[in-house]
Each structure stands twice: as C-alpha cells, then as structure tokens.
C-alpha cells in the first residue's frame, strides 16, 4: 500500500483533556469551499494506515489492555521459568515448619505441610494456565465451526445442531462436569475437557447468533449482488465480523476456565495432590483461613488478577479492531 505515515493528531486519538471544559475545535485552514464532502472524515480520521498497523496503533493506546497483556506475558514467563524462579522444591514437606508466617526464609510463608508457598504458586501457574488453554481450546474446537455452519446454512442443519446444543445446555454445568469426569476419570486434563464441553455450546450460540445477524446485514446482500461466491463471503465478510465478539468470549472463557478449574479441584475432580493449581491451593488454604489467611489470599490473588487481565485484554482487542463505532 502506498501510504506514508505522517504523525497524526486528530479526533481519533483521545487527545487529552479529560473533563476539560472547553471543547477543542480544529481550525479549518481552508475557508474556500472545496466542493467536496470531505470535512467530516478529514476531521474524524487519522492518517492512512494498513489494517494491522492501525490495530497495533489503537491497541497501544489502550493502556489497561497493555498492562493486562504485559501481566499475562509475565505470568506465562513465570510458568515457563518456574524451576528457575522457585526458591524451594514445591513438593518437599517440612512438618517442623508448618503454617510459617510470610517473610523470612519463606517469602510467602509455608502451608500446612510446611511447603514453601511462593514456590508452589510459581509451579501452580503451569497447571492453571495449561488448564485454561485446554478448556478454551476444546470449547473453540467443537463450538466455532458448527456455529458458523449452523448460522450460515440455516434450515435443517441448523435445527439439528441447535437441538444438540440445547440438550447439552439443559444440564446444570457442574453436574455435567462431574458426570464427564466420572466417565473419563478424575484428572486435570479430563476436568478441562469437561469444562471445554460445557463452553462449546456457548461459543456455538455466540457464533451462530452473530452469523445470523451478519447475514442480515445489507453488505452481505451487496456482496452477493456483485456475484461474490459464498465461500469468499464467509471468509471475507462473515468471519471478520464474528471475530471481535468471539475474541471477547474467548477471553471471558479463559477467565471462567480458571475459576472452573478452581471449583473442580475444590471438589477433588481436578488436579491431584501433591500437584497443585492456584485453585486447589485456595481450597487447601481455606481450611486454615482463621490461623493462616495468607494461604488463601496469595494463591487467590493471581487467579483474580489473571481473570481480570483476560477480560481487559479481550475488551482492548475488540476496541482496536477496525469495526464501526456507531455515533449518535
């Protein structure tokens, strides 16, 4: 593309002045009527940019999303580098030093078996993140494609797919998870497959619903009217427009998966001791809330922050995609 990237400075970027009283007015340098209806766009639009550059530029302006991204990168790094970052063996018990206070030799104290809490949290991040990725991966894998098909094909196929979806959704999620884990056997991967299966209908519904809405849009008919083949319409018009709500849903689901992992582990259906996830640590610490509250707080904190980070990141990505922002 032939575009220079002049430094911009127009309305598109929130140019400071939060709460400033005076509305900023761009001075129009050309009093002569040009004969073209270009003023509005000139005033509203920044310079010309390719789609990706434009996305990155917008994304970088979303500082909450940037912070969330940095945080998630750090957590992932921590998971990868766990053996290096840990100060103790996460599994070695020391019954002579149980429930030690934070500080001193054990940065965050020790648990009821005298294991170093900090090291356990660092190692648990591997389990928690992997669990979330597994669950969302399963959900997307079995939810998105059928959703696209159901939404675009309509009629019979749609009816069949939606019948199955409704059946799955009519089970209470926890019961369904217990049932699936009961069949597959209690370990973390199976628990996360169960969570993924619970997510799948939600992805499917979202995708189907969005496709149905997008299909109604005039631009689909406009594209059909120029003779565009259906496959190209799905790829060029439907998918990009499904993407942004899907991304939000994925970030939300990732957060939910971590919470679900915590509850399933709480019920003994997820990660098996002596292995730990953040969720299972919270559960274990819960027995000592009165005497050693840090056992709940410290592993709970990364859960809360990671959940928050995924949400903020999803919103940031959505807002940065070149989608219409309807005004007025």
């Amino acid at each position: 593309m032939s575009q220079q990237i002049p430094e911009d400075g127009q309305a598109q970027d929130p140019t400071s002045a939060p709460g400033g009283e005076a509305p900023s007015r761009t001075v129009d340098p050309a009093p002569a009527p040009a004969g073209e209806g270009t003023q509005t766009a000139e005033a509203l639009a920044g310079p010309s940019l390719s789609a990706r550059k434009r996305f990155l530029r917008r994304f970088r302006k979303q500082w909450p999303a940037m912070i969330a991204l940095v945080y998630l990168v750090l957590v992932t790094l921590a998971a990868v580098l766990a053996p290096v970052l840990a100060t103790h063996d996460p599994l070695s018990q020391n019954l002579g030093n149980v429930l030690a206070q934070p500080g001193g030799e054990h940065l965050l104290g020790t648990d009821d078996l005298g294991r170093d809490l900090y090291s356990r949290i660092v190692f648990a991040s591997r389990v928690s993140l992997l669990a979330a990725v597994q669950a969302v991966g399963v959900g997307v894998a079995i939810g998105v494609i059928p959703g696209l098909i159901a939404g675009y094909s309509g009629k019979k196929l749609d009816a069949i797919i939606m019948r199955i979806t409704d059946a799955v959704m009519s089970f209470p999620p926890l019961i369904l998870a217990i049932a699936i884990v009961g069949v597959l056997g209690p370990n973390l991967t199976n628990a996360m497959i169960a969570v993924g299966i619970i997510f799948a209908p939600r992805f499917l519904r979202l995708v189907r619903g969005t496709v149905l809405a997008v299909r109604q849009e005039t631009f689909i008919e406009a594209s059909l009217s120029i003779g565009t083949p259906v496959r190209r319409i799905l790829r060029m018009h439907v998918l990009p427009n499904v993407l942004s709500p899907l991304i939000v849903q994925i970030s939300l689901a990732t957060a939910l998966a971590m919470l679900a992992e915590a509850s399933l582990s709480f019920l003994g259906l997820g990660v098996q001791p002596p292995q730990a996830s953040w969720g299972s640590m919270v559960e274990r610490g819960f027995r000592h809330t009165a005497s050693a509250p840090w056992l709940t707080v410290f592993p709970g904190l990364p859960i809360a922050m990671t959940v928050l980070a995924f949400n903020v990141l999803g919103d940031g990505i959505r807002d940065s995609i070149g989608r219409e922002v309807r005004r007025g």
Partner: protein
Amino acid sequence: MSDWTHSTPDPGAGAGGAGGPTLDARDLRVTFQLKRGMFRGRVPLHAVRSVDLEIDAGETLGLVGESGSGKSTAGRAILRLLEPDEGSIRIDGQEITGLKGNELRRVRRKMQMVFQDPYSSLDPSMMIAESIGEPLDVHEDLTASQRRERVGELIELVKLSRGHLSRYPYEFSGGQRQRVALARAIALNPRLLVLDEAVSALDVSTQNQVINLLEEIQQEFDMAYLFIAHDLSVVRHISQRVAVMYLGQIAEHGPTERLFERPGHPYTEALLSAVPLPDPDVQRSRERIVLPGDIPDPTNPPTGCMFHTRCPYVMDVCKEVEPEPYPMQGGGVARCHLHTDGPKLGGGSVRDAERPTPSGAGISTGF
C-alpha cells in the same frame, strides 16, 4: 396483457441504442410465503404482481409508492437477489431468469445495486479500498498495481480522494459512504444500476451532491438507472419516466412531465398532492388530498381495484372489476376505471374529474 407497456410509445423510451432496452422485465411476479402462527400454515403474500419495466441505456426510470408497495422487492427480483416466481428479465437482450451458479455470477457484473442505508451496505471491517476492489477481485484478474490504479480511478470518479482508500467506513459521513457504495457499484461498468432509496437517508445538501454525481456518471457511461424512492420531488428531478406502485402493481406509469402535470390515476394524484412544497404561500393555498387509512394488508388485498378502499373517486364498478391498463394521452398507462367509466376521462388527467367528497377539511377518520 404482459405487453401493455408497449401499447403507447413513450417519448422518453426507445431513444437508446438500436439493440433494444437495457432492462426489459415482463410479467414479473414475486410471492413470499408468510408463516402465520404455529399451526396456521403459510399465507402467500404477492409482493409483486405482474410488473413490466423497461429502461433504455442512459435512461432513468423512477419507481415510487408507499412503504410496502413492493418497490424493493421488484428491484431485487430484477437483480435476481430474489427468485421471481414468474416472468422474464432481459439485460441487453440476454434472458437472465433460469441462469444459475457461475453463469448467474457472470451476468451480475452487468447489473449492480446501491442500497438505502449507507451505514450497513459497506462491511465495517473492510477498508474502503477493499470494498471498492471487491467486484474486481471477484470478476477480473488484475495485477496488484492494475487493481490499485483502477480503484484509485473509481474513488476519484465519485469525487473522493485516494487518501480515503485506506480508511474504514465508520470514518465517513453518510454522503461519503454512499459515494463509496456508488464507486463499488460502477467498478465493473454495469449496464443497469438499481438505486434503492440511495439518497433517502441523506440530508438535503448532501443528497443533492450525490444526485448530481449520479447524473454525471450516467451520462458518462450511458447506464440505465432504476431509481427507487419515496421522495417524489427527487424522482421528478432525476427520472425521464416514472412508475407508481401500489400493492405490488404498477398503478400508473408514463413520462415524468405528463405524470406530474396530468396524473391519470387517483393514487398518483393523491401522492403528488401530499408532498409538502417548500413555499408557504403555495403550500397553504393548495389543496391536499388526504387519503384515509393505510395501504391495505397485502396478504388480503381488496377485490376489484386494489385502491378502492381509499380512493376518493370510488365507483361501484371499482369494487368488483379489476381495471385494465389504459393508455394515457401524453404517454404511459393508468389502471383506473375513470378512463372508461363514470366521467370517461379517456386517457386524460384525473385532475379534470370532479372529486365527489372533498377531503382535506378537519381530521380524517377513515381507518
């Protein structure tokens, strides 16, 4: 019966090339099957009933009528965006009903559409350059630089600048988007452009810019326009001929001047009188025919003349017998018994007939 557009030679028609009209649609019919509740089965809705339309190269036919009269349905059926139940559609002599798959996709380049809502007819996730270039991608094998050059030409043709190409639709005003939609529609040099309320969503000042542009482009490329609108003033300005639809039928059609000055159908007369003119003295001194009620339920249209439930001139015969198209003095036809019955206007204007119950006084209560 399907031949009635030919019954009188229109001064505006036939002026085009020797190869016949660009669009020649005959006896077009479109029916929707409406679901009525859970167990009550389906009801047919005849949205378009036997419509004939003919447009020459370089000519604009205006299509007007109330909401729900079937204008868009007719336009979309002509472009085969809807499947007509019956009828023939010829573009430059080529019959396009019955075409399927790749053949149909290939003729689509000859006929394009501009939609009403400039906010939804462009894909919000696509850059303007991609939107305008899409028809080229689909139909032509251009190199990247040829494509860029062509897209650049197109955007300049609609009086925007190349700098706009790498922007997104949300950065444009309604008028600008409509120009982008127009650039995209003319990318393949179509023979026929269907403009469905293409300027209705725009403000007057912007609307006129787009209309002027449309006229300029038509002259340059000798395209045929089907201009669908409910704003009669705009239609009068842009069209050489006008067709008035009511409940899926063409109630009257003819050369613009004749139709506006000497309407032959009571519905046309009422529509014209209902448009408020931007001149207080003229507007307040002129008589307004206030039609009672709304357009009837299209699934259950009135018998006889479909307009008889609202017509100020209604006669007994109107409730029983469906009027046939009658040739008008000055061109075109009207479907109304007044020409053969009652005052026997014989192709003259309804304005010459005496209206039995003068309306326009007090408030009408004729729902």
